[in-house]
Amino acid sequence: MLPRRLRWLTPYLFLLPGGIWLLVFFLVPMLVMASVSLQTGSLGTGFVQSWNFGIYPEAIGNWSTQFIRSIWYALVVTGVTMLIGYPLAYTIAFRGGRFKNILLLLVILPFFTSFIIRTLSWKLILADNGFLLGSLKEIGLLSDSFRLIATPVAVISGITYNFLPFVVLPLYVALEKIDYRLVEAATDLYASRFQAFRRVTLPLSMPGVFAATLLTFIPAVGDFVNAAILGSRDTTMIGNIIQRLFLNNNNYPEAAALSFVLMAAILVLIGIYARVVGAAELTR
């Protein structure tokens, strides 16, 4: 127990563990990466702090295709997960009844095995001549050269599959909190079920929608596992490039610069999104 005159310290003490964590594992690495991005050299001969700001435009110029592709894929993934996840979360929240907990458990069940094992198993399931496609080709429903693996469809589906729980859970939390009597009140006042949804349920679930889109979009832009396992040369995402530059080429400066550009791009997009959503809230 702190003496009464030191009570004001309490909130700061509570902040301390998280603050130290962020300082050590976020701020310090960020500063180091910023420094690395402005060095030149190689692992063998050593890196020298050269303040080579030219690496930033160079990195963007080299990899703009993969940048745009990553953002595009992440947008598609966010849209699709929302289309699948919202009805799912809605059903669990309002119609789940006593099965709510079981249904939620089923949503997070995939997390009980490793992300990589799950993605690899899709590669086996969707193999060109595997059980699924092989059988469909056998009965003549698909042409012999048809494939899913190594196409954008496989990569986008893989990311969608892996991130769906991140959409369902925050949406569920937001929807579950809604007092269903508000919807009943709306229908009592002659709103159709659709109007009640559009004017009551949807606006009240917006914090969940906002959280869900961020939790999907941000990691999806930087994802490299799905593109590495399910993709091809033509689905290379920016995460794959950063990984390759870091691990295979030991080209730390360009990789660090790309990471910062990626972060900046995400911040700008999220900033715009937050303003649009925030503005929509205000004008309603």
Binding site: L43, T45, G46, L120, G134, E138, A228, S232, R244, F246
Partner: protein
């Protein structure tokens, strides 16, 4: 090409594939696990990056090729050894998951071996241990297996301990001449071979419908979208250079650019399904790829365990001979123990079970003959399965003269050249 296969075979294949996917032997599991390791390693390398910045760029070790006398070894082994190798690159008891030959070494010497499969990629592993080496610290490894061109770089940077040959008498006595005094390490001052192999082409004749003879066959539009290349820069670029009549070791930057253009043109018209690491193995074994750049020992394993139709060829245009080597990183804590283990593997009795399991070329004299003898012995005891397996290994345990006549070694790239080659190759692998 599918029209030629009758319906019955297709259904059988479909069933076989479906069944095969449930059967994951330890060897296959390791290969998958290795891939997982590659991805998780991105997190592991962060400390390495931090360390790289925290220290002066050029560490004490990197002050030039250190040509010093062999360091004095302790008179007694420490009784411990940390050995880092590649996944699926040692004999494993499939039932227990133990390493029988390593256990034999432990029993004979009393040295406790910590065997890890930490090496997934030469560059990635270099990135992981470089900060310690540059700072003059121990890497925590006493014995590491790395590919020839990486050995050359490690020697150049002064990152390896010199070997005391008096502790490795088996090497002079039993090593094949091909592995003595190699281009990357004159007089084997710092390294001796572990296993070696050839980078060539693996293909399934049932799916290609014809024999594959040269690298340019991989670019045949008939196979569009069903051909694989390596994401590894040296192998892929070197094979492409050979296909243009250029010896990789003498390649100029203009020739490398021309090779890049050739690969890029094919990549842009969708010739390649993807660029692969170890995972090309599954894609070739299950028929997603009809032909791909491949490592000789993998195709041996594939014939034995996954798809006996697959063939390996050294392209007419030329293949690459690579040698993976045991070496001792600078400041290793148990160097004498590492020497004893090097010596151990050059004993025929230990080299044979290793090669019988992994299927690559052994650098030890007499291994191919012994594998053949073991196959005959198994045949005599009516153990057909073992006999068949050993005969496949025996046929590839040492490259024949025809293969050796047409293989080349990597170019020694300096730092600037390496970056140029990487930049050019990155254009090919990322679309």
């Amino acid at each position: 090409m599918t029209g030629s296969r009758d319906e019955q075979t297709q259904i059988e294949r479909a069933i076989a594939h479906a069944l095969a996917q449930g059967r994951i032997s330890r060897r296959r599991f390791l290969r998958q696990a290795g891939k997982g390791g590659l991805i998780t390693a991105s997190a592991l390398s962060l400390p390495a990056i931090l360390a790289a910045c925290g220290i002066s760029p050029t560490g004490s070790g990197a002050s030039g090729p250190a040509v010093s006398a062999a360091p004095a070894l302790p008179s007694e082994p420490a009784g411990k050894l940390d050995f880092a190798n590649w996944p699926a690159y040692i004999d494993i008891d499939d039932a227990s998951g133990d390493y029988p030959t390593i256990n034999k070494f432990q029993d004979e010497t009393g040295i406790t071996v910590t065997y890890t499969e930490d090496v997934n990629d030469n560059e990635e592993f270099f990135g992981k241990i470089q900060p310690d080496l540059a700072a003059g610290n121990s890497t925590g490894y006493d014995l590491v297996v790395l590919t020839d061109w990486m050995i050359e770089r490690m020697i150049r940077l002064g990152y390896l301990e010199q070997l005391d040959k008096s502790q490795i008498p088996n090497f002079d006595a039993n090593a094949q001449d091909l592995y003595k005094n190699p281009w990357y390490d004159p007089a084997n001052a710092y390294s001796i071979a572990w296993q070696s192999g050839i980078t060539g082409i693996g293909y399934d004749p049932n799916l290609t419908g014809r024999a594959i003879a040269t690298f340019d066959d991989l670019l045949d539009p008939a196979f569009a979208g069903r051909v694989g290349l390596f994401s590894e820069m040296r192998d892929t670029m070197s094979l492409a250079l050979l296909s243009m009549g250029v010896t990789p070791a003498d390649a100029t930057i203009d020739q490398v650019t021309a090779a890049k253009d050739k690969l890029l043109e094919a990549a842009q018209r969708g010739q390649f399904r993807n660029f692969y690491g170890n995972d090309y193995y599954d894609e070739l074994a299950n028929g997603n790829l009809v032909a791909t750049v491949a490592w000789s020992g993998d195709v041996t394993q594939m014939k034995l365990y996954d798809n006996d139709a697959v063939e390996f060829v050294v392209p007419d245009s030329g293949g690459m001979l690579w040698v993976d080597n045991m070496c001792i990183p600078k400041k290793a804590e148990h160097p004498l123990d590492a020497h004893l283990m090097m010596n151990f593997w050059y004993d025929l009795a230990n080299a044979v079970p290793l090669t019988e399991y992994v299927g690559y070329f052994s650098p030890v004299k007499g291994v191919a003959e012994q594998v053949k003898n073991d196959a005959d012995a198994a045949r005599a005891e009516d153990d057909t399965e073992t006999a068949d397996a050993l005969e496949v290994v025996a046929a590839t345990a040492f490259p024949d003269d025809a293969a050796l006549a047409n293989v080349f070694t990597y170019k020694q790239l300096d730092e600037a050249e390496e970056q140029q080659w990487n930049d050019l190759f990155n254009e090919v692998v990322a679309g």
